[in-house]
Amino acid sequence: MTLLDTELAPGAEPARKVPLRGRQTWRRLRADRPAMAGLAIVASMIVVALAAPLLCALEGQDPTTFHSGLLDSARGGVPHGAFGGMSGDHWLGVEPGTGRDVFARVVHGARVSLAVALGATVLELLVGIAIGLGAGLGGRRADAVLSRLIELSLAFPPFLLALALMAIVPQSVPRPLLLACVLTAVNWGSVARVTRNQAMALRGRDHVAAARLSGARPARIAVREILPGLAAPLLVLAALKVPANMISEAGLSFLGAGVRPPTPSWGQMLSTATTWFRTDPAYVIIPGALLFTTLLACTLLADGVRRAVDPRWNGRS
């Protein structure tokens, strides 16, 4: 084992060969209170994101309309009134400089954040599993080539590369989709590596050998015999990837390389907030708290999933 073969999660150990037992795992997860709290928050965030237009209609606002009359223009465009201009019309106040409704923007921002995080995770899994299986099951030559490719992809500093890629890609591509693709392009390596190593290990097992001897086609073996064995480590990995991708999206948007301005995003709001933190603290606190809560919930859930999949981890970390 070289260190490059260790799992990517901070402080984690090499993926262990634990079969995934659905019901048992779920039972363990349910007993894990922090994880369930995380799950509840993540679930409600997803509901909020899906229902964003509905919630905005309820409030009677939309995320893009300017309300220049609600701003104190002489003081640089700070909202009139306390707490960033919170009122019955604008539940979480208005954005300094534009007067756009903060509530409408954060619920729509939740869409971007979650869509990119989940979308990128799914894409990373698809790409990573495909390449990993190719390496693990495709014979020596395929393994040699693909393994080098995996190693190479892991040698890139992912965030920097994503930042640079976002800059050179044509502007016409829809940004959330682009973000998901770029994050996939720089992050698929870890999934591929885990998949390959697991596949390699499982290949030698009896049931796989039996399937092969009975003349099953390689694709069938991959799906029927190998993939179920991959479920446990990949579930853990995927759970960890969601918050990681969310942080990356927020970071890219913070640096101005994420979604384009009329589309709201939490990272982008926080970037604007750097010029307003003194005069309009509410504008930092609201998107900041949401981003923080969602990330924390995702991390708690991921931690819980890991413990539930492999209870022996409990003692470790």
């Binding site: 309309t65 300017f66 223009s73 003081r75 700070v78 007067g99 502007q171 301005p261 010029t275």
Partner: protein, 566 residues
């Protein structure tokens, strides 16, 4: 002409201005005595800037009135008058003995150099050096300066500079102190143009081409001790300069250290706290942010360290009326009615930093400004009227347009303004698709009529405080440049307009010319070829120990050549 996006020119070149408010002159903070020009020498002035310093070659600088920093090193035939208030919008002789003698209907301008002028290396400054400096600016290796000279001087359009093209015959130097310019057409405001750094003398023997910027020979109060492109400029005293030969610049500090590449927030925070060398710091390109604006209300000590002024500049929405749907004047009018100037002003920092504009000419007497508002949108837009006009024009269900703009907010007409415009137009049923472009792309694409997008955000700054350089590049039919660098985005070629421009240009009495520029602006505005959005204002801090930081009305900023840190 040719507008200057502020980003590009940055600090060094921040151009002309006409001020409305003169600032509280003397520095506050330190308990020392009031400012005394006779006893102000000494100390090191720190300049904290975001941009600028990308260029320091007098041929390549695009300044108005010599700029903030270049004027400390390069003296020119004429220069801006260094006094507070309205007289600061006038040119005065610098190297020359007077503002020039026009003849042949203002087609020929003759200047005589003062006696005893010397370069920093001790050699005398001659008329040939001035001529050579101008000739260099025609070299394709040294682009970037204001293109007026190419257009005005006879033979200027085809001249390629002294490296390959010999000499320019329309500049004559009959003796060491006389220089004569021959122009293609009458230009009454030639003395304003002669404030540009291209009119600085360059000794041919010391010319190193593109490397000249690293060690230029100085004619002003300071020499370049160190120049690192985009990062640092250190100026030290020029031993061959004295107030006896230069009546305009006070040049109080012994050293000036300029740092560029800093963040806006950082600059303002450093000026506010003023620890160490920052107490003697100023900035020549950074206005205050919302944070300081809010603080100025309650903090009187800080409010005493703020200079306020106006730079003659207009940000506007430009149509290409040769393209659908903007060929219909009613569509253009609809856009003009729909604009919400309040939200545009808020987008760029509120009323302290911008005033809503309904005229293309800046609001100052020097420009000949005459108030008018042909398509009154009120403070927050008139979407109803806009819809009505659109319906008349055959767009009862509104329309969709693509808006092109630079992708940074540094110039004050970037994404933030675009978002405000987009929202205002949405209220009138116009769907705007945003098309942000990188700075370079943006300039290349908008500068050619063939590639020009139909709807763009634009900025035009005054090269000198007069109506001509504001209206000519934008509306003169002979200024439509097909090969790039075009700013007549409407591609207006109206014989009546061209005739009036020629008639006003002929006037050498600029007080008579000004009101006619104002009248022309009001007349052209009826065509709705562009929608003025706002005129920026300057609100800028200076360090605790800085004195005489008054606002110069030409450039709307404090004049570094007059500031003292003693």
């Amino acid at each position: 002409m040719r507008m200057r996006p502020t980003v590009l020119l940055g600090a060094v070149l921040l151009a002309a201005a006409s001020g409305t408010v003169a600032c509280s002159g003397s520095g506050s903070g330190s308990a020392s005595s009031a400012f005394d020009p006779q006893n102000c020498q000494g100390g090191t002035l720190t300049v904290l800037n975001q941009g600028g310093l990308n260029e320091f070659d007098p041929a390549r600088l695009y300044t108005s009135g010599g700029g903030a920093l270049p004027t400390l090193v390069y003296r020119t035939l004429t220069t801006r008058q260094r006094v507070p208030g309205e007289p600061g919008t006038r040119p005065v002789p610098d190297l020359a003995t007077d503002l020039g003698t026009p003849s042949d209907n203002a087609r020929t301008w003759k200047y005589t150099l003062k006696d005893g002028l010397k370069f920093s290396d001790g050699t005398p400054i001659t008329a040939a050096d001035v001529k050579y400096g101008i000739e260099r600016s025609f070299s394709p290796d040294l682009p970037g300066g204001a293109p007026y000279l190419h257009d005005w001087l006879i033979g200027g359009a085809d001249y390629k500079g002294p490296y390959t093209g010999g000499e320019l015959k329309s500049i004559e130097t009959p003796d060491a102190r006389t220089i004569i310019f021959r122009l293609r057409r009458p230009h009454g405001d030639f003395p304003y143009l002669a404030t540009a750094t291209q009119f600085a003398p360059v000794p041919r023997a010391k010319d190193t081409g593109v490397k000249y910027k690293n060690a230029p020979v100085s004619s002003g109060p300071y020499t370049v001790e160190k120049y690192e492109q985009g990062r640092k400029l250190i100026l030290a005293r020029n031993p061959h300069w004295s107030r006896a030969v230069d009546t305009q610049r006070l040049a109080c500090p012994d050293r000036i250290e300029v740092t560029s590449g800093l963040d806006k927030t950082v600059i303002n925070q450093r000026l506010v706290s003023g620890t160490g060398a920052d107490a003697k710091a100023i900035t020549t390109d950074t206005t205050v942010g919302p944070e300081q604006l809010a603080r100025l209300d309650g903090d009187r000590r800080l409010a005493g360290r703020v200079a306020r002024g106006v730079f003659g500049e207009t940000k506007y929405l430009a149509f290409d009326p040769t393209r659908k749907p903007f060929d219909d004047v009613r569509v253009r009018q609809a856009f003009a009615y729909a604009i919400n100037r309040q939200s545009v002003v808020n987008a760029v920092g509120g009323t302290a930093l911008a005033s809503p504009a309904t005229t293309f000419l800046p609001e100052d007497k020097a420009f000949g400004h005459r108030p008018h508002d042909h398509f009154p949108a009120g403070a927050a837009g008139n979407p109803a009227k806009a819809r009505e006009l659109l319906a008349q024009a055959g767009h009862p269900n509104g329309l969709t347009a693509e808006l092109t703009f630079p992708n940074t907010d540094a110039g004050g007409y970037g994404p933030k303004v675009a978002a405000a415009v987009q929202d205002a137009l949405k209220q009138a049923g116009i769907t705007v698709r945003q098309q942000p472009l990188g700075e370079e792309d943006y300039r290349t694409i908008t500068g050619k009529p063939a590639t020009q997008p139909p709807l763009t955000l634009q900025s035009w700054g005054a090269d000198w405080p007069a109506g001509g350089p504001f209206l000519i590049p934008i509306f003169d039919g002979r200024q439509i440049l097909r090969d790039g660098g075009n700013f007549n985005l409407a591609q207006l070629d109206d014989p009546a307009v061209n005739r009036e421009i020629d008639a006003i240009s002929r006037l050498t009495d600029l007080d008579r010319a000004a009101p006619r520029w104002g009248a022309l602006d009001a007349e052209i505005a009826k065509k709705a070829l562009l929608v003025p959005l706002y005129h920026p204002r300057t609100v800028v801090l200076y360090g605790k120990d800085v004195k005489n930081a008054y606002i110069d009305r030409w450039r709307g900023w404090y004049d570094v050549s007059m500031v003292s840190v003693r």
